[in-house]
Every structure is written in C-alpha cells, then in structure tokens.
Symmetry: D2
Subunit: 367 residues, 4 copies
C-alpha cells in the first residue's frame, strides 16, 4: 500500500516525520492498558541511536528529546493511542540545497522523485536515518511489554568491514565499551583501525548485525504467510541500508545436508528441547523454544565524500562529492533499531497468538 | 495474526488445505475484471511444481488438477473472488500413522502441537509442501497481470548442495533441460552426481534460488515499512524451508565499502540508469528501474531416512528413520513457488502504487 | 478496497461464488483450534436460509449441501483455514439470458457493469442472495464459539410490510411456527394476508429485523473507529437489501431529551447494571453488560413481476417485467443472515479484546 | 482490534489524544503527493466544530490551532505521512476530579473502566468530543482531494429535538446563518425556542443530521462486505452519540412495496440515470451516479445538570448532577464531523476502486 509508514496488526504503529521538518514521531495504537511508562523509558532507547558519541558516527549534534502527548495517565498506559514526538532542533537546511538538484548514488533521491514527482530533499527527507526515531520510540514500549513477559532481545555488531567477532571472545557487556556495539574488544580495535583508514579515504564501511531473542514462549508466529521468521524478515529488511536477512544458519544451511542441519529433539529436565539450534528457534514459522537468532546485512553508508558519477535533474551526467557530517558506518547506530523492530514484531505476534486455542480463550474470559 | 493464510493488501489471497484432507486451494479477492483466464493458465504453473518428474523429487504421484469455481465468466475474470481447488486424490493416510506419535526433527510437528494443542499429522498436514499449490495457483493469475504490463519473473537454482552455477555458462533455457531448474548444464551434472550419493546415504541437500524480475516500472514499493524488498523478504521467507533472503549484493554488500557498493547513475538513451546494480533494483524500498535480483536460501529436506534422535509425545527419547517418498531436495520444485510469491508481491505493490500522486488519480478518473 | 469479499481482522473470512457458477463458499482463517465441528453444524444454519419452505419465499429448489474441505481433523478444528463449499446444482441459466441485456431496477446490474465493464448476469451473479451462503456457513462456526462463551444471538422479523409485532404477544418460540420468523402469531397472520395480496399484484414487501445478543461480557468493542455498534452497522449494512441500522433506541433517541434517553446505573445483586437499556447495550462503543439490541431495515424485493421502466445496454428506454421464481419478501430468509453477521462481528471483537490489559496478557502466558 | 483509532485501508489515518492531555492530533498515511495544503485548509474545517459560537454550544473556550508537523514541503503534500497536532490549552482538570469516582449515565466511563481497568477521567479523556478534532483535521485533507475530483459533501441538521426542516423552505446557505446548521430559518427559530426551554430545565436534545454527496463517479464501493453504504455506516456510527444510520429511504423503504421503492432507469441527455433516488445513490453497494443521501441519528447530550441516579466506583447507588460547560445538543457541532467521516470514507473507496479493471490499470501504467 501507499500507506507505508504503518506497522503491525494488533500492536500497531504509524511513524511520521522528515529529517528537516518540524519533527519526527510515532503513534502507537493497540497498546494494552496498565503498563508503567515514562518519557525516560523512551529516552533511554533513543539515546542509544544518538549520533556524535564517537568519531565513527556523524558529528551532527542531535538532542533528541522525546515528549509523550497522549495515552498515558498517572504514569500508566491507558489503552488509547500513545503519541510521541521529537522536535527537530538543529536542522541547517542550507547544507542540503545542493543535493536538491541531483540524485545521490545509493540513496532514495531518484526513486522518491519517480514515485511522488518531487521530494523534500533536505537531509534525505523521509528516507533520512532520523526516520528510525519513531521505530525506536515505539520499540521502547514493546520492550516494556516483553520485559514483563521475561523476554530479552539483544543485538550487536557481528562484523564490520569484513572484520568479524570471535565467539571465543564473545562478551555481551563489552559492546557498551566500544564505539561499534561489538561484543569482542579485539575485533572492535581492528574495526577502529580499518574504519579510520576508510574515513580518511572518503569511503564508508558496512557490516552484519546479529540479534538473539531469548525466553520466547513456543508457538509464536503462524503457519503459511505469517511465519515468525517471515515477519521478522520484513521488519528488519524495512530498515534502511539492510540488504539481507537470515535466521538460524541461514545461507550456511543451504550448503549442508539434512543430517547436519536437522536439530534433534531431546528431553532435558522433563522438557522437549533441541540439541542444536540450526533452525534459529523457528520451525514451520513458529517459535520452538530455542533462542531466536537472526542476522541482518547492512550496506556501507552511501554518503561518501569521494568523487562519484551521477546525473542531475536536467538529465546531465555530472560528478559529485557528498558533503556534510555523515556516519562512516551505519551498523553501530542501527543495532538498537534492529532490536526495536524485532521487539515490535514479537509483541504483535505474541498478541496475535492468544486466539490459537478455544480452551485458552474460554479460560481467559471465564476467570 | 492467527489468520496466517491470508496474503496481500489489495490483490488478496487466502489459501487452505492439508496434505491429506479433501483438497487444497485458494481464493483470490481483489483481482481486476477483464483478464482472460482458463484452468490451463493455472495448470501450466501447477505442473511446474508437480513431483515425480525425475528421480530427484518425490516419487509420489500427485495428479494435481485444478478447477476454477468462481470469478470467471465467459473466459474472463469478473472482479469477484476467484476460488480454485485441487482435490487430493492419492492420499495414503496409513503411511503416516507412525509419525502421529513423535516430532520429526526439522519439521513443524512440535510447534504445531505447542500452538494448537494437536495437529493433523497426515503427511505434514498444513505444513506439507502441498500447501504451496494455493500459492502457485494464485501466482498464475498474478503472472497474467504482470504479462500485460510487460514484466517478467524468472527464478532458477543458483546453487545446490554447495555446487553453484557458473555465470559464464548461464543459459536460462537450459533450466528446462535438467531436473534441477539450473541454467547451467555442467553444474546440473555435478549436482546430479552429488545428490545421488547423498540419496544413497539417506541424506538430503539444500541450495539457493535466484530470481530476476525485469521491466518493473520505477517507484514500486513504499518508503519505511512497506519497502519493495521488505515485502519480498516476507513473501519469500514465508515459503517453508527458506532460511535467508538477500536483495542485490546482499551479505556481500556488507563486506565492501561505499565506493564499491554505490551504483552510479548515468544517462543512457536519454534515460536515467544505473551503471551497476549492486542494489538489486531497489533504492529506499522503491524500484529503481534496474532488474530486481534476489536470492533465497533453502535448507536440505528435513525428511531423511537416516536414523535420527527425537522425542515422542510421551516425553521419551527415541530414534527414528523417516519413511515414505520424500524429495531429496526442495530447490527444484520450489523455483516456481519463489516466482509465484514474487509475482503476488509485485502485483499487490503495483496496485498500491496507483495512488502515489494526485495528478495521476485525477487523470485516471477524468478520462 | 477492491477486495470486498473479506471480512474480519482476527477471525477472518473470505467468501466466493456466483449464483449460477460452480458453487458458493467461504474460507475461515483464524479460527481457534479445538472446536468440535461437523458438516451438520453448518447444515443446520444453512437450512434456515433455504428457500421453498413456504409460499412466501422463492419456489426455487436449492438443495444446499455443505462440505468441509479443510481445517478439521478428527472432528475438531485444527487452527488452520476451514474451507467450505456448496456446489450449485439446479441452475437454469437460460432463465436469465433475457436480463443480460438490460438493467433491473433496484438491482446491482448497472453498477456492476459500471465498475467492472461487464457482469455474470445469470441469477444476479455475485450479487445474488446465494452470496449469503458463505456468510451463514462461516457464521455457524462463530456460533459454536459464542456458544462455549455462553452468548446467545437471536434475530426475528419485527415488522413486515409495515405490520409490526406487538411486544405484549412476544414469544420467541413462535417464530419457528410461521413463514416469517415472527415472534407473534397474530402479526404473522396479518402479514400473510397482506403479502398474499401484494404477490397477486406482482409486488413485493420489505420489513425490519430486530436482533438481541445476550450475555456479552463488558468492554467488547473499541473506542473511536472500532466501536462495537459501528462494526455491527457495517456488518449488517453489508447484507444486500439492508438500508438502515439502529442500535438501542436508534432514531427514536434523537427525538427525546437526555433525561429520558440516559440509562441510570444501579447496583443489582452486587453488580453495576443499567436501569433501562436505551443505549442498546453499548456505551462509547463498548458493550456495557446489557443486551445488545439492534434493528435493520430491509427494502422490498426489487424483483417484481409488475411492469417497470428501465434502460437496456444499447441506451434505449424499455419496459420490463421480471420473470422467474423470486422471493416476495427478503426478511424471513435474511433473519439467519443477520444473526450470522452479528456473530461474525462479535467473535472478531471478542478476540480483539484480549489484549486490552497488560495484566491479563501476563496471566494468559504465565499459566 | 484493540487498535481502535486507525481508519481507512489506503488513505489511512490514526488519531490520538485525550481531552485534558497534552493535545489531540492525527497522522495521515497514504495521502498522495502533490496536493497543495496549508494549515489554513485544516483550520477552516476545525473552526466549524469550535465551541462557544452560540449559547447552544458549550461556553468553554477552545482555541484549537492546528500545526502540520510533516508530509508537506513547499506547500504541497509529499506522499509521506502528514502529522497534525492541536495542543490542549485551557484544560482545567480540577473541574473533573469529581467524576473520577462515579459513572456518568450515557457516558463511556463505566465501559472504559471495564475494558482497561482504569481511565483518564478528565473531561471524558479519549471519549471526549475533542477526539473528533483528529477526524476533522484528516477530513480537511480528504476534502482537498474530493475537490479536485469535483465531488461535494454537504451535511446539515435535518431535525433537532423532533423539530424537522421543511424541504419546501430548504436553503443550504441558510445553515450558516443560525446556530444549528439548519437549512431552514423557520425550523431553526423553533429549535432555538425549544432548546432554550430544555436548557433551563437542565436537559438536553438530540437530532438528525442529513448528508448529501454529489457528483460521485459510478462504481465506487465494492460488492459483499465493502459496500459503499456499509463503509459509510461504520464511519458515521463511529462518531460518539450517533445511534442510527440510514441510506436513501432507509427505514421508510422497509414499509413500502417494491413498485414504490424501485428506482426506474431512464435515459437522460444520453446518459443512464434514475428517475427517483429511493436507493440513496447506492445499488448493490456501489455508487449508481445519483446523489449519495444518508442520515444519522444523534442522541441528546448525556451530560445534563438535572439530578440523575448512578453508582460510584465503590459500588454504591448515588445521585449526581453533571456540572461544567456542556453542549445542550451535539448536532450543530457534529455536522462537520459527519462530513469529515463521509469524506474520509469516500476517498478511501475512490482510491480502492482504481484496480477494478485490468484495462484501466494497463492504461494507467502505459501512459
């Protein structure tokens, strides 16, 4: 549908806002009543995507302060729509007047013009990274819900510029200590070196984000078109710059045989469990009780200062060099966005799962 | 939502049916009037997924004959729902009585039981490959629509059991000549050898399907959550056994720098084009005029005759060997399913794109 | 949306079929697992709309025998889509060849042609009363669900041809004893007389159907756009020939003052109740614990044998007299359709209500 | 769905806000690009629902100034979501502390508590009339679209307190000259007298709003569940205080015979037209080229200063008298809300109708 800024079926969100418009925001419709919620709950998450926290992210200062405008009363959600807004403060539109006239390679300038006839070119307009503020703000509420259900979502940089973490050195806490959200200090150091070099060359780097969701109840997701992994794939692929998605062993699974890829079921502490987790926690589109494990491939930032060929709106071949303060890599700031989209997807599916059995429905209403 | 068998927003389908129930089918709601449509149009596509066409697919005989029950009058669609059914003929339910009691590794038996409390275990029930008949039947109508718009969708096996095609030998017509839908005769021969060996070992193999969509108008897909590639990802990942999706360079894009990954725009014959197509035909979630290129990773068939560990419904660890006539690989028969899901996705997005500009809407109604 | 044959958000149905095509049917997606269901459960409901049961309904013989094709295993729903079909048996297409060329007054012939360019004219095609078979078949499943929740839905003819029931003589069981589904034998006699006269004159009559839903839990329906009564209104107004909908006192409420129309709350047996029920059981769009009471106005059958003016497809003014075996009134057979649509609406809203409070969600999953 | 504040399938809106929260607003997702739009376009419509314009509406001062936060660039819509907000300025929450403890008759206090466990009681919270600001703001954009398509939507008070307009004196311009939006000065005078009396008695009055939509193209709306009139019914019934909906002759149609109710088709100026319009412009759920005519019954304002019985949250029977500045009637201010909901419904259906024929789709894309 043309209405592309709406996500979710039951826990539904609508995001809005352009990079250099009045602000960016989101409305959450379908949030249950009774969840304690403060602006701080949202702010903590937004701060994770804030730029300017190291030399490897854009040096733009974005003081993204969120306000909750509705749906919360006396500190708790009321069940009515929650509207959240972050006003844009430090837009310098003049920075962008130049790009109005041509199409930046790797960006959506050309396709926006083709689809809509024109575009708000300032800072990328709707296709700016600032669009993710709405996702993260809504995601913060999803996390509150997952929290009371005991579910944890953890994403991190698995690889940047081709430099991967070593699982023998894996330390989730370490990801807070480096600029890359990498759970391996040694890998992070190598990335710092490599990325510095590329920045000097006016170039940018990509990477892979991995996400683990633990303690998900079984049976979440639905057969056929609404599989858990299919919904995750859409949610994650909807993040700008993400070019691939895999669950469990993903592409690797296609290269091995059934004997290797099948996960044997075994009894453990009186419970059905899987001996391995090649499936990534999903069988037939429904959660199987193991950790949900997925990965997203993020392309290198398209905004680079190196000279590039492109065309302008008059249909002339030209050469350009993108100016401005751009992230040399998207991965570190995208980690919280991946977590947020995973949380939004999961909450929607958990809610959708409540009507799978008539006896549970009767129990629910007969209490 | 629990209602997992519905796909599409404007061109909407609902599939139904179990492997060993009365039949399988689909209803298409939202198909435009005036499309010439015969049962043969559907049958041709269904025959592409028919088993028993080589020793590398299941030897079950499935004479899948489709009937159109509604929505077509005097050879043309009327704009009302099109109901199509394929009755199940040769079910031998007794074959499956054994698997009622345990959970086959790599299958959805366990998750179905967890979600719904019990399952139709005969032949996998709803999670059987026969579920894809509804997708392919509906896809056949989508192809008729794409056809009048001049759009082509072509998928093929890019890799099976780790053996990849060589693009220097790429020949699309060749895919009809071998059992694997591989556009490279030499690779197909190697696959035949490898797969034969694995079959003897009671094992199975996976692979990668690549799909190219050509001649798509620009601007299809929507920014933010309804990106073309995000919708494709969900559609393709919803196919059983698919574990990964990538568009354009996909995971490879995450390993290179911006200079390499950015596609330069150049004027060609007075038109804006891209010099390369690392993006896979999508920028900012909207089609950019280049070919749409994506890949899906398919896991090896989970049904293998080798001995495997698992648990039964009484909570006991047991050993099993899956009997019956199973495909040693899913890839060849899944090619048409990938094409069908791509076509269904594309038609829905093309329809959704018609309201992107007010002047075009006015033109439409002012004629 | 163009996809007009889909109803419901969680408990979702898609109906299909034309009067003189192969058959009519429905697929239900999102039905919980574990409901005992047999073809007889469906057949009982379908028989209520069967024609030929009195001289006041069409004398066409329609032996509508339903088959369940999927979604039921060992007598219980499995949670997967339930496909139901009624094959058309006694179509005599030749009866209708005449109406192909002109537009019957009060029918959808003209608008179908305008929207779709042509139409399946046989017996009204998709806009035939046979379309309601899908609604009633799906409604039968909704009734099974309401039944286990203790909810009753009862509709009846309140008025036919301007002759109303007298509530002092109201007797629900009486509605089974007359041809009109009227819970008042005296009124039914008067209707019989009046309708006989109109039939002789080649004319037809309309009426009002009233429906009472009892034992609905409080809080069903949602504020703002998804109010219980708004959803009911759409569901009921979607039935062919229905021209008006009112809940509670409806139009009468607009004529009195607040003092009269407000329902006082009072404690009764330790429970909050309403002293009166002018509201019809809904306050602010949510069920308030009282009976849900609504009415639908049904227009007289447009197919009449009297001479009428109309135009043909060549744009000529002509005179016609509709031949064939038509119902002289729609009300009696529409009663079960009203009940079915109410049941479908209610089940969908009851399912949607399960996520209104976080504590209830936690309870649900923590069991 | 619990997500009750979302409306529309293609032209989609999400409203938010409580009477005494930070503000109220709406996001419009799916608005085509290229529509000229200024805050004034919105403000003009909002002013029509502004209170305090006569003694017959609440004397509360609500200076509802709208701001557009996104989706508009250089005076034109961009195709991305349009976020609009009206900040609440003059809330005096203390006015409402009393009603926190009991359930006002005729209001949603009780059902909100039942559904969500608690409520924002200040000024009615989400069920306040201020909720309609989002509807009217979004409706203003819908009107811009209808305008370029040449479609007019006109609603007015047909009846207040049982006093009806006389169609012989009907004058649309007159509705601007009286406090009631009544197109008949004489009737308006009588209403003024009657309503003044009722206000003195601490009572309130209801009425009927009629709406005429002219110049709608044929074929809008879809057969079966998505009929034009069914969608209108839901939209209009979703407005607080509306208890009934009828299209064309509505309830009156149920009392006459087919001969009277059928509209004959006749050729006029070479076009198919209807001699009468008992149908209200809709046949088989699709627009038939005549004016769309519908009516909504509005109940008397439930907030009255007379003493009423009710219960408090402790489960005690009490007597209350609602204080504060309330509208003695809802009809006059609801007229623009009815128009707005009709416009939102119509735009969504017009957009949805663009895919009804394959030849038109091909034309659209082949230009």
């Amino acid at each position: 549908m043309a209405a592309g800024s709406t996500f979710g079926n039951i826990f539904k969100i609508m995001t809005w806002g352009e990079s250099h418009g009045e602000g960016v925001g989101v409305v959450v419709d379908g949030c249950p009543a009774g969840i304690s919620l403060t602006p701080e709950d949202i702010q903590i998450q937004l701060n994770k995507r804030k730029p300017g926290q190291s030399k490897f992210t854009t040096q733009r200062k974005e003081d993204d302060e969120v306000a909750i405008l509705s749906g919360v009363f006396e500190g708790k959600t009321t069940g009515t729509p929650i509207s959240m807004v972050v006003y844009n403060k430090t837009q310098r539109s003049s920075d962008y007047s130049e790009i109005a006239g041509y199409y930046r390679p790797g960006h959506a300038d050309y396709t926006f013009d083709e689809k809509y006839g024109f575009r708000d070119y300032r800072g990328g307009g709707r296709s700016s990274g600032r669009e993710t503020i709405g996702r993260v703000a809504a995601g913060a509420i999803a996390f509150k819900i997952l929290d009371v259900l005991g579910i944890k979502v953890n994403a991190y940089a698995k690889e940047i510029g081709g430099i991967s973490i070593d699982y023998n050195r894996f330390n989730m806490e370490e990801k807070e200590n480096n600029a890359f959200n990498m759970p391996d200090a040694t890998a992070a150091e190598k990335v710092a070196e490599f990325a510095s070099q590329k920045m000097k060359e006016g170039d940018s780097v990509g990477g892979i984000i991995e996400c683990v969701i633990s303690n998900v109840m079984t049976g979440i997701g639905d057969p056929v078109f609404e599989k858990f992994d299919a919904n995750l794939a859409k949610a994650i692929m909807s993040i700008g710059a993400v070019k691939a998605f895999e669950i469990g062993d993903g592409f690797e699974a296609s290269k091995v045989t059934g004997r290797i890829n099948n996960d044997s079921f075994v009894m453990k502490d009186g419970k059905v469990t899987k001996e391995t987790n090649h499936s990534g926690g999903v069988l037939g589109g429904m959660s199987d009780g193991s950790d949900i494990v997925f990965r997203a491939a993020v392309k290198p930032t398209p905004s680079i200062s190196s000279v590039q060929k492109t065309v302008n709106k008059s249909g002339e071949d030209i050469e350009v060099s993108i100016k401005g303060r751009h992230d040399p890599m998207i991965v570190p700031r995208a980690v919280v966005v991946v977590e947020s989209m995973a949380a939004l997807t999961l909450v929607d599916l958990i809610f959708g799962n409540m009507t799978s059995r008539i006896d549970r429905i009767v129990d629910f209403y007969k209490r």
